[in-house]
Each structure stands twice: as C-alpha cells, then as structure tokens.
C-alpha cells in the first residue's frame, strides 16, 4: 500500500504542479493537461523504443544513459509543443474571460487526444524504462526503484519551482496572473510569460506522463486511456487550491493516499463488494466534493475576496 500511495501520490502531485504553474502565471485552467501528459509519455516511448533517438548514434553507451537522453529529447519536444500550442491557441485569447480560455483548452484536449491516440493505435506502447523491476530493500519495506525515483523527481521539481517563483521571472509570472494589463504597464512581456509557463507546464505534464505509464500497476506503457487517468489529478488540484504549489503536492499525495487506502481496504474486505468495481477510481472525485463542501477554495487556495 505504501508503494501504491507513493506512486499514485507522486503522479498526482507532478500533474498538479504542472497544472498549477500554468494557472498561477496565466490564469488559464488547462483541461488539456492530461492529454499533454499522455502525449509526453508517447513522445518518450517513440524516442526511446521506436525511433531510438539519440540512442542509435550512441553506440555501446549504457542503457540508462541512452534512455535518459531519449527522455530529455522527448521533454524538449514536449516543451516545443507547449510553445506552439500557446502561440497558436492561447495567445489570441489574451485578455479574454477565464471561461472562454478554459473551454479553448477543453477543445485543445480533444484535438491533442484524437491526434495522439491515432498515432498510438490500440496497443499500449512500452516506454522501455530501464531497471524495471529492481527494488530498494529498506528491511521493513521493499520499494521499486522507479517509485523512489518518482518521489525524488517530484520533490526536486517542487523545490525548483518554488524557488523559481521567488526569482525575478517568477515574480513577473505572478504579476501577470494577478493583472495582465498592470503587468504589461510595468514593462513585463506578458506574451513571453505565457510562452514560458506553457513550456514549463508541458514539460511537467510529460514528466508526470512518464511515471503514469511506467508504474508497476500499469507497466504496459502509454495507451489511449492514459489521458483519462490523468483527469484524476484534477481533484488533487482542487483539494490543494488552484493556485498553490504546496497545495498541489499535499493534494496529490492526499488523493493518492485515499485512493490507495480505499483500494487496499476494498480488496481485503469482500463484504464491501456492493460498492462494485472501480470504486478506487472515483475516490478522488468524492473526496473533492466533500472538501469543497467545507472549504470552497480548497485547502491552500487563495480565497476570492468579494467586495462591492
């Protein structure tokens, strides 16, 4: 259960962090995040196992080095895709209402999903993650290495991003989110901030997509359902509050814990079989509804001050 918790939690946290970056700096609610995650994972699968870029030119380099460089190439491609999408579809919406932009990303989600599913086909594409089944034995618990890696990656990413928001560019991002016009008047290049946020956001989505496709539970690889699995990160985002990095991480691990615990509990207690199959999958949403009943802006979200 610990393993399940950590792996699910890391995935949700990573997805949520990437999402929050885009929201925090551009106020865009990105429904296409799940599709971007699946697309990123598929890019890694293509680079690492199908096209073997740049592995085919690396000769007898160790497998992990080949795989990592492929992953880096794929992440660069994901960043490029994020830039292009932002430039084509989000930039024209600059200054429009929040809902219109959110619905644009919903349309974007459909477009990305249709196109990438078509390339993927019906069979799962393996990612060729090296060191697949090796585990870290702590004596009292055995954790697969890829879970350990995912937790480390999550924490490193969060620290990096939290520091980034304190830097000059990060402050500019927050200013842009607060008021695009005022930020522009202060000499901030709002367009560039949008590009940057989308590039970082889609890289984060791709990283989350990798882990989404390699965990022991779903070791088969990336397939057409991956984008839908990523939707389960939305409760994590809401739970933590739309605009809080810390909230995203806490929300991610909390949702992961709840889902892992409930799934574990149900598999041990046949008397609860009346709940039917797939109850674990809806736990995040139920939890989200409950939390929102009590705290409408999530646990760490900024409350909207309603003033006359």
């Amino acid at each position: 259960m610990l393993v399940d918790w950590l792996s699910l939690g890391s995935i949700y946290a990573l997805l949520a962090v990437g999402f929050v970056i885009i929201f925090k700096s551009t106020q865009v609610l990105n429904f296409a995040h799940g599709a971007l995650a699946a697309l990123g994972a598929f890019l890694v699968a293509s680079m690492a196992t199908i096209l073997q870029i740049p592995g085919r030119w690396m000769g007898s380099a160790p497998v992990w080095l080949k795989w990592t460089s492929s992953a880096l190439v794929a992440l660069a491609a994901a960043a490029l895709i994020g830039l292009i999408l932002e430039r084509l579809f989000i930039r024209p919406m600059l200054g429009e209402g929040l809902f219109s932009v959110a619905i644009v990303t919903l349309g974007l989600d459909i477009v990305i999903r249709t196109v990438s599913n078509d390339f993927m086909g019906t069979n799962p594409r393996p990612l060729g993650f090296p060191g697949g089944t090796a585990s870290l034995d702590l004596g009292w618990v055995v954790i697969p290495w890829n879970v350990v890696v995912s937790v480390i990656v999550t924490l490193v990413a969060v620290v990096l991003i939290a520091t980034f928001f304190l830097s000059r560019t990060g402050v500019a991002m927050r200013a842009t989110a607060f008021d695009q016009e005022a930020a522009r008047a202060q000499g901030i290049n709002v367009g560039r901030i949008f590009s940057l946020a989308w590039a970082i956001g889609s890289v984060m989505a791709a990283v989350a997509g990798i882990f989404l496709s390699v965990f022991p539970r779903r070791s088969t690889g990336v397939d057409t359902a991956t984008a839908f699995l990523a939707f389960a990160a939305f409760p994590a985002i809401i739970l933590g509050g739309l605009d809080s990095i810390v909230g995203a991480v806490v929300g991610g691990y909390a949702i992961g814990l709840a889902q892992a615990a409930v799934t574990e509990f149900l598999s041990n207690n046949p008397s609860f079989a009346f709940l039917g199959s797939g109850f674990g999958g809806v736990v995040p949403y139920v939890l989200m509804l409950l939390v929102l009943l009590i705290k409408p802006y999530g646990l760490f979200g900024t409350e909207e001050i309603r003033r006359v």
């Binding site: 609610l29 939305f234 199959s277 109850f279």
Partner: protein
C-alpha cells in the same frame, strides 16, 4: 411601413417573443416546412403516390432520424444554455443528468424483465425523466452554488466521472458495460395493459389520409416537444427569473445587492437545466434504442457545450443553429469521405487533388483514412471529434458570439445595404 423598422416604443414590444411581422411570418413558414418534412415522401398523402412537393431525401428514414436527433440535442443544449448562457454557471456535468434522465425513463417505462422495470405509460416516465434529474440537481446544487467559477467547472467534471462509475455498477438498472439495456418504446397508452392509443414508432395512417413511417411520427413528436421547450426557454429568458439569471451572470455581487437571491436562483438554474437534460437524455436513449453506461461520458458534455458555444451562448436561435451544425456535421463529414473515396476510385482531376488527403493503405500518409485499421490516418469518427475540438477553439477565438453573431452581422449588413452603416 410606419416609422423606423424595429423601433421599440413600449416595454411589451421590447419583450415580445417575435419582434416584427417579418420575423413572425418567417418563423411560421419555417415551422410549416419542418412539419411537412415527413410528407415529402412519395405516397405520404391519400392512397396513391401523391405527396407535398419538396426535397424527398429529407423524408428518408436516415434523415428523419438525424433530424429527430437534432431536436433532442437542441433540447439538451437549451438546458445548458439556461445554466451557462443565462446564469453564467459553467457545467461539464450535463452528460450525467442526461444519463440520469435516460435511466429514470428506462426503469419507469420498460416492462419487468431481467433488468428493473415498472412498465408505466409515457405520460408518467417522460415527465419523471425530467423531474428526477431536476431533484438531483437541487440536491447537489448547495455544493455547486458554494464553489465559484473555475472550481465549479472541475466539480461538474467530477460529477461525470462519478456518474459513469455509478452507471457501470448499477447493472441491474443499466445492464452494465457489456450489454447495456433497451429503452421503452414511444407508445401512448392510458395505463399498463391498455392497447396503445398512439404508436409513435410503427408506421401507420393519421387522420385517415396521412401515411407516416415510424421515423416520421417520432420526428413529429420530437418536433412538437422541441417547439414546446423552445417556447418555455424563451419565456424563462424574458421573464423575471431570466433577468435574475442574467444579473447573476453579469455580476453576482451586484445582483445580490439589487435583491436577487443568489442561492435560490442558482439552484433554480441547476434544476431547470437538469430537467431539460433529463428529458433529452431519455429521448436520446429511446432514439438510439440500446445504450451502454459509457455513452454518458465527458465527450457528450463537450458536444453539448460545443452546441452552445458554436451557436452563441445566451441566444436561443443560436442554440438551434448550433445543434443543427453539430448534429449534421458527422453526416457531412461522412458524405465528404464518400465523395473522396469515389473520386479516388474513379481517377481523373479530383483524384489527383484528393489523393494527398486520403490514406488508402499502409505506407500512404493521408489525413483521412476510409479503411480503419489498415492504413494510417484519421477515421471518419476521429475526424468528427477533431473537427468539434477545432471548431470550439476557432469560434471562441474568432467569433465569441457564435453562429448567432455571424447571423447578426449578416443581417446588419443587408439592413443598411448599400450603405455600410
């Protein structure tokens, strides 16, 4: 003509459902055309081959089904339009309420069998298919009213996923993912055992001289219901309730200060929109005949959102245009695909033009693929989905007012013609 056209001098004129004589006449003629569609078929009137002259293909079974579907989607979208277009509450959960309406209808309307069914007549199950979702809408609206804006969008997204899980597991009602279930037939009877007074699915003769197919009757029934729903929606829009909705949409704090009870009206908006969704869901299920739980998914919600956005949020004629666009689009794409295939097969100039678009076998990288599984490229179904997505984006970027906005611009251009203003 007296005075300036469309000059409004009193409040009643401003609030009128049809604003001018021209509008009334045009709407009447259009409605007459719609009613006559099933009578375009040869032999529709009297004993011989006589019929009302008009495009015969519209009276074919496939087109009548398509037009019925159009009406059903229009009803669903009218509901979402009240919630999102008038009251300004974005909801991705419309598919959930449609599913709820469908299964309410199934349980109440179908006869007892392997799955739950009570076998009540249509005048019970059709209203209940709206009322039960409306009640559920009221029950969950406290959560929905408390959360604002973008949070609401995600909460309603959660509703769709929870709903899909519930439908999958209530297999004694829904039949489960494997088999799905059948839905009651559209037959009007007084109570369970009676002979059907009116069978809307079998062909027959009405008034002694109108020979109608089952599809034709179904179409007329849907048409009547759609017109009713349009009138109700229009009346909601131009009444006190509708103005309260619009006040909340434009600025909720200001609306509350003016004395609009925000909680009450948001709940009401949810209830009305769920009622529309439920009835539309039940009729959609009846029309399709057999549905599986996975049908009520996010894509259905997005389709309804697409109708509202493409048509123009907040406008009823926009919703009607939008549903015509979205429902007829797959058919047009299909026809376009067939055209491509024919021209590719026949050779000639068209084939050369279309060949880069078309993917006919492995190794041929065209965009459109007409033989799924064999060649790369998008199948017709995927092409449809892709076009929905792109259209939503394109309309939001280029014409936020939707088809209604396009229509207004065309109208204004001709109103001032040959002057530009």
């Amino acid at each position: 003509m007296r005075g300036r056209p469309l000059l409004v001098t009193n409040y009643a004129d401003d609030q009128a459902m049809l604003k001018s004589t021209t509008q009334t006449v045009m709407a009447g003629l259009f409605l007459l055309f719609l009613v006559c569609i099933p009578l375009f078929a040869p032999g529709a009137i009297g004993g011989g081959e006589s019929r009302i002259p008009g495009p015969t293909f519209l009276a074919g079974a496939d087109w009548l089904k398509l037009l019925s579907e159009l009406g059903i989607f229009a009803m669903a979208a009218l509901g979402l339009n009240i919630l999102s277009g008038l009251a300004g509450q974005v909801s991705l959960g419309h598919a959930f309420f449609m599913g709820l309406g469908a299964y309410t209808a199934a349980v109440l309307g179908s006869g007892p069998g392997a799955l739950w069914g009570v076998g009540l007549p249509i005048w019970v199950w059709l209203p209940m298919a709206g009322l039960i979702p409306a009640a559920v809408g009221i029950v969950i609206s406290p959560t929905a009213v408390r959360v604002r804006g973008l949070y609401l969008a995600i909460v309603t997204l959660g509703l769709v996923f929870i709903g899909e899980y519930v439908w999958r597991n209530l297999d004694f009602i829904t039949g489960g993912s494997q088999s799905g279930r059948n839905f009651p037939a559209l037959q009007v009877r007084l109570w369970r055992e009676e002979e059907a007074l009116l069978d809307l699915e079998a062909s027959g003769t009405w008034l002694g001289f109108l020979n109608l197919s089952g599809e034709g009757k179904f179409y007329l029934f849907i048409l009547a219901l759609t017109v009713l729903f349009v009138i109700v929606a229009k009346n909601i829009q131009r009444s006190r309730v509708g103005r309260a909705f619009q006040a909340i949409r434009d600025r909720d704090v200001a609306a509350e200060i003016m004395g609009v009870d925000e909680f009450r009206y948001k709940t009401l908006a949810f209830a009305i929109s769920s009622f529309y969704a439920g009835v539309a869901g039940a009729l959609l299920a009846v029309e399709v005949g057999r549905t599986i739980p996975e049908q009520w998914d996010l894509l259905l919600s997005v389709e309804i959102i697409a109708i509202v956005l493409i048509g123009g949020a907040g406008s009823i004629s926009g919703v009607l245009m939008g549903s015509a666009f979205v429902v007829l689009l797959p058919r047009l794409v299909q026809d376009f695909g067939n055209l491509l295939q024919q021209s590719a097969a026949s050779g000639g100039v068209l084939a050369t033009i279309f060949d880069p678009i078309l993917s006919t076998g492995p190794g041929d990288f065209g965009v459109v693929n007409l033989s799924p599984g064999v060649a790369p490229g998008l199948g017709i179904l995927q092409l449809n989905t892709l076009i929905y997505g792109l259209l939503i984006i394109a309309f939001l970027i280029f014409e936020p007012l939707g088809l209604y906005g396009v229509w207004v611009r065309i109208r204004n251009y001709w109103k001032g013609w040959p002057f530009t203003y």
